[in-house]
């Protein structure tokens, strides 16, 4: 594009320049030649008329040696005109017959000449006139050459100037092209620098906006893919461990000599593992179900809800102290989901606590923006770097410890999902070895 424009404009300049140089030289040449012609004709006529008159005088005097006298006369003329680059010679001819003056150009080895041959009107002599015009012609050629050289110099300068101008005009386009090529090659962070305000800066701004969007989408997609992969990896691991145990126990039952007690023991272990797998499947199903779920909300009395949970928790675990404080009246939610959320949080708290030393406190507070329910324990806490990850499916702070407690690492993921579908926010605050507070804030719209 840039090259094409350059060639077109440059050709135009060359055409105009050289055709004008041609025309100028042509006219210069013509006028110079005409001028020389006129000048030589005028001189020739002067010479002819004065020579004619002088010869007539000689004849009138009745010279003895008429031809000798004419010769002397002509030599005198030739000497005089020789100083002006003119050669004159005279030849006798027979009388009668027309003989008009004749002008020719001659280009001999020693230069350029104008030759005129003509008859004297009153005597039988032919005059040969020759004017040396070499100098004029050379001068003219020099002028023409100078014109040509200056035209060439001018075209070179104009080519350079044209290139510079075109480069500055096409520069933004080049940048756009280069940047889009970079982006096409995968460097999504490339942007066009937007400088002064002109027609192209809007294009650049829009282009940058587009690139920004593409990059953001790509990052989101990559994160999503990574999360999915992580999930699948974790899932495979979670499935494999209990399945290996089930296979091992089943193989043992299949081949070993067992007594009745062992049959009961081994089969109940297999059943335990199977129900653990079922639990994972149920939790995953519940997570899937909650993905686009809209809860059927109704007003639930919080003191009543807390009573319920307190009874369940106390029945499950007798070696922790469970208390609750309720400073809110009611909550607009789907009761069974919130119950399962709070039970999950309480069970996590129980797992975190040292037996017989654990204190778990469930509180509800209400302010203008909404209701906050928190579960606080004085258990082992969560390391700072894990706090953000504990709500991811299958994430475990400590493989070995949690495996003994039997959790699959889906509880908090479910809790977060339940909070999400209620438009609530789940926040975790934890200090290792001091305890953890998980709070769910329900904002009233």
């Amino acid at each position: 594009m840039k090259l094409k424009t350059f060639i077109a404009i440059f050709l135009l300049i060359l055409t105009i320049l050289f055709s004008s140089v041609g025309i100028v030289s042509f006219y210069l040449n013509n006028s110079q030649i005409n001028m020389l012609k006129d000048k030589s004709i005028a001189q020739f006529q002067t010479i002819v008329s004065s020579l004619d008159r002088d010869i007539a005088v000689l004849r009138g005097r009745g010279e003895v040696d008429f031809y000798g006298a004419v010769d002397t006369l002509v030599r005198g003329y030739a000497r005089y005109y020789g100083r002006h680059g003119i050669t004159i010679s005279v030849a006798g001819i027979r009388a009668g017959g027309e003989h008009a003056a004749e002008l020719t150009f001659a280009n001999r080895g020693d230069g350029h000449f104008i030759l005129i041959t003509g008859r004297l009107p009153m005597s039988n002599f032919l005059v040969n006139y020759s004017l040396d015009i070499t100098e004029s012609i050379t001068n003219m050629r020099n002028i023409q050459n100078a014109l040509l050289v200056s035209a060439i110099v001018f075209s070179v300068i104009s080519a350079a100037a044209l290139y510079v101008i075109l480069s500055s005009i096409f520069k933004p386009l080049t940048i756009v092209a280069e940047t889009s090529r970079e982006i096409a090659n995968g460097k999504l962070s490339e942007r066009i620098p937007v400088g002064s305000k002109n027609e192209l800066s809007q294009v650049a701004l829009d282009f940058n906006k587009m690139a920004e969007r593409v990059q953001r989408q790509m990052i989101l997609l990559e994160e999503e893919a990574l999360n999915k992969q992580q999930f699948v990896d974790n899932f495979a691991h979670e499935m494999r461990t209990p399945l290996t145990s089930i296979y091992g126990y089943a193989e043992y039952m299949h081949k070993a000599l067992l007594d009745d007690g062992e049959v009961i023991e081994i089969s109940s272990r297999i059943m335990d593992k199977a129900s653990y797998l079922k639990e994972i499947a149920n939790s995953l199903l519940q997570l899937a179900m909650l993905r686009d779920y809209v809860p059927t909300k109704q007003e639930v009395s919080i003191p009543h809800l807390f009573d319920d949970i307190s009874q369940t928790v106390k029945a499950q675990s007798e070696d922790v102290k469970f208390t609750y404080a309720c400073n809110a009246n009611s909550l607009n939610c789907q009761e069974d989901l919130i119950k399962s959320l709070l039970l999950n949080l309480c069970q996590n708290a129980i797992k975190a606590c040292t037996p017989n030393e654990g204190i778990i406190c469930m509180t509800a507070t209400e302010n203008a923006s909404g209701v906050t329910i928190s579960v606080t324990d004085n258990g082992c806490g969560i390391p700072a770097e894990s706090v953000a990850k504990v709500t991811e499916p299958f994430y475990r702070v400590d493989e070995a410890r949690n495996r003994k407690h039997g959790g699959a690492g889906l509880g908090l993921a479910l809790c977060r999902k339940i909070a999400e579908v209620h438009g609530a926010e789940l926040a975790i605050k934890s200090t290792p070895n001091e305890g953890t507070t998980v709070s769910v804030t329900f904002t009233t719209p």
């Binding site: 290996t244 145990s245 091992g248 081949k255 007594d259 593992k273 493989e399 495996r403 003994k404």
Partner: protein, 216 residues
């Protein structure tokens, strides 16, 4: 009869390994993390240690460096080629990749025990006395006349006592992988063993599975 330490953090896998070891007549101790393993191995002398590489507390390689000399079989995860090499480089006797078949684990343990001569060399049941070093069998005071293949089959049954072995498995273990015989051969040899040793009720035919030498 060997005393074996099983170090494996997964409670169920540990349990299954121990049950199988007990079945073929070994005694065992269990450890669920590296520190416990080091403590047990220092206190007691074991004929073999089955050592998981991925352990909480202290990993298997560190445990290996800390314990007094004992034959060790490493238990590694499926894709840990590095850990296999590392284990062998450290001087382990063998490694086995999770998940494994019980018979494979028993065979490898047996191989290591044979090398260190801690394996069972004599076996007594009812009237029968088997000496595996001399390859002789006495029924009462009489030497029983067993063919070499019959003796090998008997040895396989003893080393996998209380475990049901399929006919194919028996072919593989007693005759070798490349033996192209039929499973009928196994049945014939089993019949002969039963009548020569008077073990009609000891070598049980397990329906749809194979044979089992029942010692309990």
């Amino acid at each position: 009869m060997a005393h074996i330490l099983v170090v494996e953090d997964d409670q169920d896998i540990n349990e299954i390994i121990c049950k199988n070891l007990k079945l073929v007549g070994h005694s065992y101790a269990q450890a669920f993390d590296g520190i416990e393993a080091v403590k047990l191995a220092t206190e007691t002398e074991f004929d073999l240690i089955l050592l998981d590489v991925m352990l909480p507390g202290l990993d298997g390689f560190s445990v290996f460096k800390k314990i007094p000399f004992a034959p060790v079989i490493f238990i590694t995860a499926k894709d840990g080629l590095d850990s296999k090499l590392n284990g062998l480089k450290l001087g382990a006797d063998d490694y086995i990749v999770k998940p494994f078949e019980m018979l494979e684990l028993l065979a490898r343990a047996e191989a290591v025990l044979r090398r260190t001569q801690k394996n069972i060399t004599t076996f007594c049941l009812d009237e029968v006395n088997v000496n595996m070093t001399d390859r002789t069998v006495k029924v009462g005071n009489e030497y029983a006349d067993l063919s070499p293949k019959e003796f090998e089959l008997l040895e396989v049954l003893i080393r996998n006592q209380n475990i049901a072995l399929s006919r194919d498995k028996l072919l593989e273990l007693a005759w070798g992988y490349d033996y192209l015989g039929e499973t009928r051969t196994v049945d014939n040899h089993i019949q002969k063993l039963r009548s020569k040793l008077g073990w009609e009720s000891r070598i049980k035919t397990i329906y749809k599975l194979g044979y089992r030498l029942e010692v309990k």
